[in-house]
Each structure stands twice: as structure tokens, then as C-alpha cells.
Symmetry: C2
Amino acid sequence: MTTKAPLVVIVGGGFGGLAAAKRLKCSPVDVLLIDRSNHHVFQPLLYQVATSVLAPGQIASPIRSLLAMQANTSVMLGNVTGVDAASKQVIVDADDKVGIRVSYDYLILATGATHSYFGHDQFAAFAPGLKSLSDAESLRNHLLEAFEKAEIEDDLNRRKALMTFVMVGAGPTGVELASAIAVMTQTTLRKDFRRIDPESVHIVLADMGSRPLATFSENLSEAARQRLVSLGVDVRLGKPVQAIDGDGVVIGDERIQAKTVVWTAGVAPSPAGKWLGCEVDRAGRVRIQPDLTVPDHADVFVVGDTASLDQDGRPLPGVAQVAMQQGKYAALSIFRKVIGDPPSPSFRYFDKGNLAVVGKNFAVLQSAGVQISGFMAWLVWALIHIQFLAETSLRFSVFLQWAWTYLSGKRAARLIIRPRSDR
Amino acid sequence: MTTKAPLVVIVGGGFGGLAAAKRLKCSPVDVLLIDRSNHHVFQPLLYQVATSVLAPGQIASPIRSLLAMQANTSVMLGNVTGVDAASKQVIVDADDKVGIRVSYDYLILATGATHSYFGHDQFAAFAPGLKSLSDAESLRNHLLEAFEKAEIEDDLNRRKALMTFVMVGAGPTGVELASAIAVMTQTTLRKDFRRIDPESVHIVLADMGSRPLATFSENLSEAARQRLVSLGVDVRLGKPVQAIDGDGVVIGDERIQAKTVVWTAGVAPSPAGKWLGCEVDRAGRVRIQPDLTVPDHADVFVVGDTASLDQDGRPLPGVAQVAMQQGKYAALSIFRKVIGDPPSPSFRYFDKGNLAVVGKNFAVLQSAGVQISGFMAWLVWALIHIQFLAETSLRFSVFLQWAWTYLSGKRAARLIIRPRSDR
């Protein structure tokens, strides 16, 4: 490293942060990417880890190896706890070192979002979300254990509760997870249990809104709803979830006994707004300017799910594409500043389209006026998701895994892995 | 299930129990296999999960799916806590049900072994062993974190301790793990870190005995020792480990500061002997008869690492081959009893040979008077280990992974996966 090059600190190794780091590969800057986890996760496929189709390693890559060939880039495993914008430093806890101060010349905050219980934090203990590999592994353990417990349960009501799975929130994650659980019970698990009947599984997908996949067109929502129903998913719309506890949920005024409840409803941004002490939107996301910087801090960029920016009068959605395009834009802006070029025109999001999968052989696709649902959309979904994986080896591995699971109906990763207390 | 068929209860889904269950496929009996984990693990490759070559799912298979096609066989996820041989029942804890009594007509105990600290149980907290997938995952997390911590550590002594890895016990597990860590640091990690120098890694393999791989011939031990040294492993023989704490070990009278210590020394059998109240050997293994049954209990078989049987005046070793051959023998004996055939001749172990791998391209092999070391032995090792995996899909997957890792020097599974406390 030369000591002269400006240092760009990127916080977060998700879609936005990684895109920014890669775009800075050949820039005359040093880059330090800080993340609290050592891997980049391809979040759109987390539900496949939770339902034992893919192994965790197939959708995650060590951030270090993704950036190993960039000589100007370092990676630090650490938890950022604040930003001191006045002295241009981020504050990091790493290992047992608390409050390390790392100076920056430019800062890109790409710290993402976590799930939000909309003020019902008491739900968290009973209805975990699905945002990290660890979430996906623990949901996988939980789902597989529910079947194991049902197999030895003699009490009919308890067995029913063990075989009832409730997803709260019918956005893409809820829809994809509910349909994946339906496929899992109908194919893989059918042969494996002697006492329980996979037909008696009850999968509930609940949402306050009037349709699933509300960001898609009404036609596609309806196509998805019909597909969910044909997979045996009990779609409950228009009623809020009033309560969640260890034995079930209350939807509207009906109680459903269920030992598995997954929170697929809402997300809350990272505390980047608090760190910067700047203006945030109602959800808590940092209100950024059209060049993605924070007002009064031309050297601080905020991108992805933790940023709030309107385009054509509407806020940009919290999706991977926005984060990646913003990350690249921020990197390019910094590059231009460093080499003395005039700034780029304002950021503009190019929406390539929207996709969600509903079980085997079926997806909905909406892109540039085109709306399709069914097998073709599913093929497009599969190809695009393979293409967007971070490493060639993962593309190969996921492709083979899907082909094998598709043809054999078997799943590779049906493992309950927990530390044993008696060791 | 017919209610008339005798019920064979098998406790343990390791090599012995699984071999017995499979051998009973077409027998006129019902089979119930009880294990406290839902998967069968191919233990000889655990060290490759710990060193990020293979993912957990590549060496483990759900016991249910391995036995799904056997209509006479059920699987139960439960923890056996005792045997009531008088009333022919095993006692099982499953889910929140304590002390379930399961009746058997024949019982096969294949409950294996765990690591033993030879009376130094205080070592356990600082020097975990490597017997389960969970052990392997947590060692993988620990190894990767040690490098991450070293990368941000300014204190030279602390950095040195973070980069020192001590294996206590130079049997196959210790030798394979030490050499795998050496290869990992020299290949994969070399490019990924900016500050730490993989050359400064210090890998110590300690053993009280005078040579590594003491179950092999002296020639092969020496070949393995030379190979270890050429990989940069510091082989310390002939001195006992006196102390282990959170900062290092004392070998003989020398203290080595190390943040990673792995116990690869000894194993202790499961408490099957206590459950049965029968005679055990010095290590606590059940002394079985030449037909593998327990004295006075002709319907109770004990096989594998938890059994003790002499052959030609020497105790049989605690290896997978013995467990598998014994499991098959016990199944065959039960089959013969059920159909009224005369009993088989006494069990006789057929030793196919012994293999251990030392890093890339090198293994030692000892079989029927043949002793070879080097690349050819390594090829044989790779072929045999692929062949013995429990499922065709895993053979395919492991073969591809090895080929890819071998050619690219990259590792697929370098993930630190931990639940986050701040969620």
C-alpha cells in the first residue's frame, strides 16, 4: 500500500458494499471493507438453505476471497458501532478490542437492514426472521426437528401444532418460504416418516394486505395466490397478526396452534442514521441526496437498504439491484473526485424487473411491461439467480444441486447440527 | 408393520449401527434405529470440514433418508439413557419426553465413543475434540477467527499466540488435522490477508509416544514424520502435555502460547457398560463374547468402539471397519436366530488395512504386508474414502469438491457462522 492514496472505508459486505469495493479495484485509492461477518451471503436464496435444498456454503463466499485479487483492498472482521463524521473516523469493535477508530477519506455505509417487528419486539423470541446464514441454519434445524418431534408425539393436538407452519408476511420471502416448505413436505419427507402423514401438514401464509407479493401487479399476485393454494398453502389475507407466542399465533380473532412461526414481514434499517445524526425517513433510513451522499458530508455515501431516496416521486425499493447500482455509483463518484473529473449526473435506478418463485416450476416475473407467470418465469428466475452468485464455483455447485434435487426429489442438506450438551 | 415380527432395536447410527440396520433390510424383523442426531457422519473426513475443504453436508446424510427404502425400518431421534435388560427395554429421552421405554426382542448397542481427557477434564474447555459435525463446525469457526483476529492484532506476542495451533495426540486425527492446517495456511490463506504472514504460522503436533501414527509400522511412522516436518509442522514427541489453559499448553516443561489447542488424543466409550451393568475393560468398553453378545444376555449385541473383544490375543482397534463388520455380523446372527438357522461361527475381524493422509499428495498405507507411502497411497486413500461415503450423491459431490480444491487451491466452506447477539 502506498501511504499517499486516499482511503475509502466501506462498511458492509452485502450487495451494495461488495459492488462498491469491486468497482474500486483499479482506482488510485486504498479500500478497507469492514463487516461483522466473514462472508457475503446471497440473501435471495436463504429460504433454500432453510428448506434444506442448498447448503450454507453454496450461497455464501468469504469476503476475503472475493476481494483477494484486489491489491488495493483490505478486509476487516469487525462490528461498526458509530461514525465520527467531524474527525472522519468510524468506530469499530473487533475481537476484544472496543472502540477502535479507523480514519477514512471517503466512507460508504452499506449496512443494510434487519427484520422489524413494528413495535412488537415480544414477537422476536417466537417468530425469528430470515436475514443471515445463521437464521437460515436455525430455521432448518427447527423445521426438521418439528417433523422428528411429530413422529414420536402421541397427542393429536400437539402433533397438529408441530406440523403447522405459519409465515407472517406475504412478500417474496414469505411466499417463497411457504411454497418451499410445501414442496419439501410433499416430496422429500413423504417417504421418510412412518407415523406422520405429510398430507396433514398445515402451512399458513398470513398478511394484513389484500394480496401476496404486493409489489407485483394484481394479475401476478393472483397467479401466485392460486399457485400457493394449489400447493396446499392456507393464504390468509386482510387480517393482522394480533399475537405470537410459543404455542401459536392469533390472526384477526382466530387462534392457530403452531410450533413454527417465521417472521417474513418487515425490515428495519441499520442504525446508520443515528451514527451520522442526520435526517431519516419514517422507517429510520438515511435521507440521501441524488448523488447518494449525506447532506453536509460530501465524503459520506449511504447505499442500499439503509438509505432512502425518491425517484419519480416514489421511494426506491429495498432490493439487491438498488443496493448494487448505488454501490457502483458511489464508487464511481469517489473515483471521479480522486482523479479530479467532474461529478457524475445524479443517481438513477434502472429497474431490470422483479421475480418471485412459488414452489417447483413456477415463478412470477414483471419486467419492462412484461408480465409472465409459470414455468418460463421459473426458468428465467433460476438462470438469473445462478448468474448473480458471487463465484463461478458456486454457480456450478448450485446448478448441479438444483438439477439433482429437481430430478431426484432428494435434498442434500437435511442436517440438524447442534452442539450436544452431554459432551 | 406386522405386529408379529420380532423388533430389533439398534442404538446409534454410526458405522456399526447403520451397517446392522442395512443388513436387516430383507429380514423378517422390524427394526428401530435410535440416534440422538438425525444424521450419520463420515467421521474420517471431519478434519476436512474443520479445515474448510468440505461442507458439513458433504460428509453427512440424514439417517432417515439412508433407510427410507427399508419398509421394515423406523428411525427415532432420541437420546438413550439406559437399558433395562431384565424387562428387555431401552430407556429414551426424546424431545421433552423423559424416560420413554421402548421394548425390544433383540438389541444392538452401537453407541460409539467420545473423546477422553484421561482424567484431565479441566482441559475440555480449552482443547475441544473432533467427533461430531458440530465439533468440526466450531473448530472451523475458531480457526478462521484466529486469522481474522491476528490480522488486526498489533501486539506481536498476542499475534503469535493467535497463529499457533497445537494438536495434542499424533494418531490419525492429529496428523491429518495438523497437515491440513499447514496446507490451508500455505495455499488458500496466503493471498487473502494483508498484514499477517502465513509463513509465521506455528503448527505443533504433540504426543507422549515416540512416533506419530503408532498403529502403523515404524517405517511408515517415520515417513509420516518427515512429511509433517517438510510441511512445517513442529512434531514434539516423547513428552506429555502437562497443562492446557486459555493461553496455551505446557509440553514437558516448555510452555507454548497458543490460542488454538485441539484434543486429538484419546477416546472413551459410551456408557453402554454402565447401562448393562456388565463386565468392562480398563477403558470402560463392554467385554463381549466371540458372538458379540453380552454374557447372560444372548439377545443383546454390542458392536464398534464401545465393545471390547480380543482377537489373536490383542484387542480389536476402534476403527470404522471393525464397527461395520461387527454390525453386519450381529444383524446376520439375529437373522439366523429368527429364521431358526444354527448360529454363525464366532466373529472374526478381517483387517483390510490402514490409511492416513499427510497433507496434499501424501498418505501412508499398510495392508496385508504391503507398506507404501506417498502419492500412490494418497490416491488409494482418496478413492477408498469416496467409495465409503454413504450416498452416491455425496461421492459425486466430494469428488468434484476435491478435484476443484486440488486444482484451484481454493476452499468452498470458509464460513464463520454464528448467531449474532445484536439481533
